[in-house]
Symmetry: C2
């Protein structure tokens, strides 16, 4: 009897986030839900990441209503979300009480599996969210963000997994957001985790397909003992997205592993999204095929398009080469953070500033915060000279405690502000929407009763692809004005305005 390899289907979250800027409307997903529900997946990722933001910013759709609809349409499935730990689904640290509320409400509305990650792999940033998930009786998946640096060894990743299990995680996810995870490290890390944490530890592997090697990495991870892998239905796979679900099923034939997924259901899902995909042509990533330059630059594709647009706006598109060379320096100076939202944007923008104005002549507010410990601990030491510059510029000390420990209870204040908004229904869910995205929420509450808006178009009428479509919606939006840089920390806004010399 072959070993069962479980599968998480990504079509309803990361697949359309990666391939079409998170723009897919709920009505384009609904017809596939019955087949998804009955295909035999271990879980269905369908919420979190940029979906919440995209719902209220672009689709006039209540993200909580989306969650409840998924719950109703997929009664047999574990629903899964991606949670940025203490950042929840926003871009700042939240106070613990807000974290608890968010997790409670998500569980209550139907979420089953919470994949919790922190951009710096700082365990302290995950602890509260993991505890909240455990308290709600749901599945807490602790995440190891995979990256490459002289300090990121197999032993370090295994050690982090061990610590995640120690704080009470139900399973471990190895998250490779930039398709950097090659077959051998995939094997070694999974093997290492199974040895360190015990054979029964449920190990889940998430990879993107951008570099063309990660289907092999999934195979090696499975050989090393991985229990579950993430894929996306083929008609919404590859490029900056994920490996195709059907290919995974076929790949395992005769290997002693099998998915036991229902192939007829998979074909129905495939056919549905093949019809839907062209409606979002305007938002489709223009990365087709593979990009292996990432291995040398360690810069994810979406980050490159961001930096390109920043340089273009300053009339310096020809300096991209210098910026690409500068990114690894900035990353080293910052103690080798993984490059994932928000650290990828922070490091990338600082590299642009360094090239345009001289190295560290100006620090962005976020980069200063990163250097001072306000995002948490990095794996490596941060350059002491630049830490001093950050102190001087930001006029605040460096910290070593958990960043959220500096925050005061904020629920009541958030609640008062939210219910004062026109169209707010007074529910905790609405307060949480306001807490995540105050400005966008205000606008959304006012227009919500007009109902969801489908931004997909008849393919014949669609415009050519946007310039940086691989990016999560919110990230692109936040960086649309690179010269004016806004930093929001603990509810206080800082602004850095920089003009080319």
């Amino acid at each position: 009897m072959s070993k069962l390899i479980q599968v998480t289907e990504l079509i309803l979250r990361d697949a359309h986030q990666s391939l079409m800027a998170t723009r897919m409307a709920m009505e384009d997903m609904v017809p596939a839900c019955e087949d998804i529900d009955k295909a035999g997946f271990w879980s269905v990722e369908c919420w979190g990441g940029a979906t919440y933001d995209a719902c209220i910013r672009f689709l006039n759709e209540d993200p909580w209503e989306r969650l409840r609809t998924f719950r109703k349409l997929m009664p047999n499935s574990r629903l899964q979300m991606l949670l940025r730990a203490q950042n929840l689904l926003g871009y700042r640290h939240y106070e613990d009480g807000v974290v608890d509320r968010f997790v409670d409400k998500s569980a209550e509305n139907g979420m089953d599996v919470f994949r919790v990650f922190d951009a710096l792999n700082d365990i302290r940033n995950l602890e509260r969210a993991v505890a909240a998930v455990r308290k709600s009786g749901k599945h807490a998946q602790g995440t190891v963000c995979y990256t490459v640096s002289p300090l990121h060894t197999t032993a370090k990743f295994v050690e982090m997994a061990k610590r995640l299990m120690d704080i009470g995680c139900d399973s471990i996810c190895i998250k490779d957001m930039a398709a950097l995870l090659k077959p051998q490290p995939a094997y070694d890390i999974v093997k290492g985790i199974k040895e360190a944490c015990g054979d029964k530890t449920f190990v889940h592997v998430h990879v993107h397909s951008t570099t063309g090697v990660t289907m092999v990495s999934l195979m090696k991870a499975i050989e090393a003992g991985a229990d579950c892998v993430d894929t996306a239905i083929s008609s919404m796979s590859l490029g900056p997205g994920h490996n195709p679900t059907e290919s995974l099923v076929e790949m395992l034939e005769g290997t002693g592993f099998e998915t036991r997924l229902d192939k007829d259901r998979l074909e129905n899902i495939r056919a549905h999204f093949e019809k839907i995909r062209p409606r979002y042509k305007e938002f489709l990533s223009n990365i087709i095929g593979v990009d292996t330059a990432i291995f040398d630059s360690q810069i994810p594709g979406g980050m490159i398009s961001n930096m390109e647009s920043q340089l273009k706006q300053q009339g310096a598109a020809d300096r991209m080469h210098e910026v690409l060379a500068e990114v690894p320096n900035v990353r080293k100076d910052a103690g080798y953070p993984p490059l994932v939202t928000p650290s990828s944007q922070i490091v990338g923008t600082q590299a642009v500033f360094n090239v345009m104005m001289g190295r560290y002549k100006v620090l962005t507010g976020e980069f200063a915060d990163l250097m001072l410990g306000y995002y948490g601990e990095t794996i490596g030491p941060r350059d002491p000279k630049i830490v001093e510059m950050a102190k001087a510029q930001a006029k605040k000390p460096s910290i070593t405690q958990r960043p959220a420990d500096l925050l005061k209870p904020e629920w009541e204040e958030l609640r008062s502000a939210a219910i004062a908004l026109k169209g707010c229904n007074g529910s905790d869910e609405d307060v949480l929407t306001y807490a995540m995205f105050p400005q966008v929420a205000a606008k959304f509450f006012g227009t919500r009763d007009q109902g969801p808006k489908n931004v997909g178009k008849d393919p014949a009428k669609a415009a050519p692809p946007a310039s940086a479509p691989g990016q999560p919606a919110a990230a692109s939006a936040a960086l649309s004005g690179p010269v004016t840089y806004k930093v929001e920390l603990n509810g206080k806004a800082h602004k850095v305005v920089v003009s080319p010399a």
Copy 2:
């Protein structure tokens, strides 16, 4: 020290054959030749397959001149070609003397490695070509066409490889033209060949990427001892083409295997073809992403588009489903031939006839020939009732000898006919061009002095993709009129005209 994994780069032949209907002009390849020559490939596939046909049919380019140019531009490289054994580069069996001449002239003009295959895996069809290559002092690579059927076992493939080594092949290629080779059989077959033929046997693996699993198959083949694998530079990879060269290089890091290719050269090659590719938009395959339905239907993508266009021309596009279900039946009745040019077209067209007119109410001339042994032996028995029908319709007996044994020396006749043509330069090369494609050659000789024609276009001006662009040029052309079916065997033309009832 890691084991060296050799690589054959496919960009100059199979990559553009699979992705852009073999239309790439020589002038678009020339600027990349120095980098290709110096990147460290074991060989550079650059001739054969449909390139010869496309040169004279579409590009007004002398294929022999193309070969000589490659020879001059890549002095350090083994040049490699794909040869359809006794069919050479045409679509009929040639008499042995013509086979000898073709191989001699190819060697003389600069070819180093001859990959010889037969669509039915009938060793007798390969023997003469392999002997001719050996006599010329060049590298004879014997090919096992991979396919899936109840009779195609690992043991059978290994046995065929053993027989190929016994007739004097210098190496073995496992050729997976439809991306059906999954990781486990890839491992088992390579392992089996190494055990049966000795560890020193040079095993080369060729796969397409259509189904999304074959990068993993390359990994498993390498683990089993494969010495050399085929890939295409990333900017001309994936879809119905091949796995990306750069991804292969990266994939092997830390595994105990390495390619030692020059990554800077690879980047130059990639960047060159990234610029060239959009010029051929009009011919680009519309298969993007993967197609795993092939595993169940065992019907390669290009064959499906062909059958679709045949059905459409008869106003029966809605019967595709029945045709897809009929193909495996026809294949079984014919003794399970691999589906590759020309057997894929023969089986596919008969399936269309069966659905449109009733099972075997009319046999195509080619299908009758296949049933009577005129293409060679198949692995399984052919249905005796249909063999009798074929005898009655074709008015000839079934045969068991090597088909080419029925042919009389034909060189002098070909020579006389060729040199009588306007523009023929009297060389053996021109006679061979005439022998391969008599009608097209006649036209080509007349226009040759106008020089090569580049059918690539400024992308802004290019038309939308053609309907069946994954197909080799010649195959599409040969099947453009499915209702009128022409059979040419031993120089004699048969015509079957069929109208829907």
